[in-house]
Amino acid sequence: MNIIQHVANLLIRSVFHADPASWPWTWLVQAVVIGIAAFLAFAFVAIFAGPVSWIERRIAGRIQSRIGPNRVGPQGVLQWLADGVKCWLKEDLVPAAADRPLFLAAPYLVFTGMFGAFVVLPFGAQVVAADLNVGILYLLAITSLVVVGLLMAGWGSNSKWALFGGVRSAAQLVSYEVPSAFSLLCVVLLAGTLSTQGIVAAQGGWPWDWFIFRNPFMFAAFFLYFTAAIAEGNRTPFDLPEAESEIVAGYNIEYSGMRFLFFLFAEWANIWIMAAISAFAFLGGWQIPGIAPEQIAATKGWEFVGWQALSWTIFLVKATFLVFVVIQIRWTLPRLRVDQLMITCWKYLVPLSMLMVLGVLVLLALVPEGGGADTILRGAMVGLGLAVVLVSALRVRRTFRVDREHYREMEGRDLWYPPYRLP
């Protein structure tokens, strides 16, 4: 019996108080539950990409002192549906000089690589499609398939801009996979397992049980991973494969309609994946403070469902917060040059990440878990984390005030709007 069937049985048993194994149509019930679960996961990618595209455009508008999409629906929330319908109805152009099979297959390979990653993401205490014992390695493997798709798109388009985009993206992904893999190696060293649920289970609900606050090297490893993951996702400041001013649009330049949208789906799905990996590998994942995973598994009925929902919510909040950070970074920082990009990776991030692995190994050998030194280290790291959050919050508050004052000085009236009230 695989894990999905197990989860399906667990859900049925706890909600309906009946043993599905005793029913005559067990396989049918299980198939329906699994089908719904698969549909939900698939729909999650599609539906997540839509609103996030709208949110990103609104944030971009705000940061660039313009309005952004606000016409379709209240505040423009339905803009992504309109865009989707538009792209669906557009003609699916294939350039006459293109390598047709490669050109047609590339978007699907990119999307499949991204969607495959959702199989092992631990959404909640019992909510994971497959708890593979090689989970985090599987994540690295399946997302590395995306590069093949991007290269196929770049080559198949038979356009020099698309080819530049594809080759740039391949160079970038292959380079930045090294520091991100080393950072995740630190996590694996601490957790002692490759399974994603095992990594979450090795942490705890409270911040001082998270891996990021375990020791200074893990703290640095989190930021290393986050930087490398942004670069792997082709996001600004590392979005050279899509640099408009240099190569027009990159590997997706010749695509139109739904095929073009598939690349964007993959891009936004990738933001979610990198945020989710950061959340479960460093920030405690779905762990609920004060409740052990075994206690959740022991509960019955709606209580079980409630705990599941709470763990799911905690995970979603953490990951969504990181998604917002990624979006804000995109619209804040300028793009790097190609040589700067490679120097950042090979001269700084790679040696640093090796140093992190070494440091984690040394501390693992010297500082026993649960001892006095461990407690002091964790406490100090949580304090450092709080200080970082506090400084950023104060900085944001000050920026808002200065912004409002400037507006009043220039216009002589109070028309400045806070971020939660957009025009």
């Binding site: 490669l102 398939l145 160079a171």
Partner: protein
């Protein structure tokens, strides 16, 4: 389930391999090879070795083939012109492969020996990352390190083949 995975993976490998040899453009050939690697990953998964399956995708499909594609694109991979006939050595080579397959298949079915059985129960921890690591970094450490020499040779060979017009350091 294993049977299904076996035939699926085997078909992917065969299709990918044949199409790779037959395709005229170097980029298409590389993409077909990726399909072949995915098929072999499926075979590893069917053999209860998820770790090897994932490594197959990560190392071969994800890293090495990307590097291949990258290099092909940098060097403007050649597209073979449509030829009147295939090279002559194809015919003996094409005859050799099925002959070899038949030989291997029949050698396993010598009378009395029976089919080599699949062990009913796998040893505990079979195919787990821990077990693979113990074998790789313990028992077969020397062989594991020696294999890296093959990779170095391959890199030098690719350099020599790929840049026939440029000046190589030893020319």
């Amino acid at each position: 389930m294993e049977g299904f995975l076996f035939y699926l993976g085997g078909a992917m490998m065969l299709l990918g391999g044949v199409a790779m040899v037959a395709s005229r453009s170097a980029v298409s050939a590389a993409c077909w090879l990726v399909l072949s690697f995915l098929g072999s990953a499926a075979l590893f998964a069917a053999l209860q070795a998820p770790f090897l399956a994932v490594l197959q995708i990560l190392v071969y499909a994800g890293a090495i083939m990307v590097l291949f594609l990258f290099v092909i694109m940098m060097l403007e991979g050649p597209v073979m012109p449509a030829e009147a006939g295939r090279p002559k050595f194809w015919i003996p080579a094409g005859a050799l492969v099925p002959a070899a397959i038949i030989l291997v298949a029949t050698a396993r079915w010598v009378p009395g020996a029976g089919l080599p059985g699949f062990p009913g129960d796998l040893p505990p921890g079979f195919g787990q990352p821990v077990r693979v690591a113990q074998l790789l970094l313990g028992e077969y450490l020397l062989a594991f390190e020696l294999i890296s020499i093959v990779l170095v040779v391959a890199i030098i060979g690719a350099l020599a083949l790929g840049s026939n017009e440029r000046t190589l350091p030893w020319k």
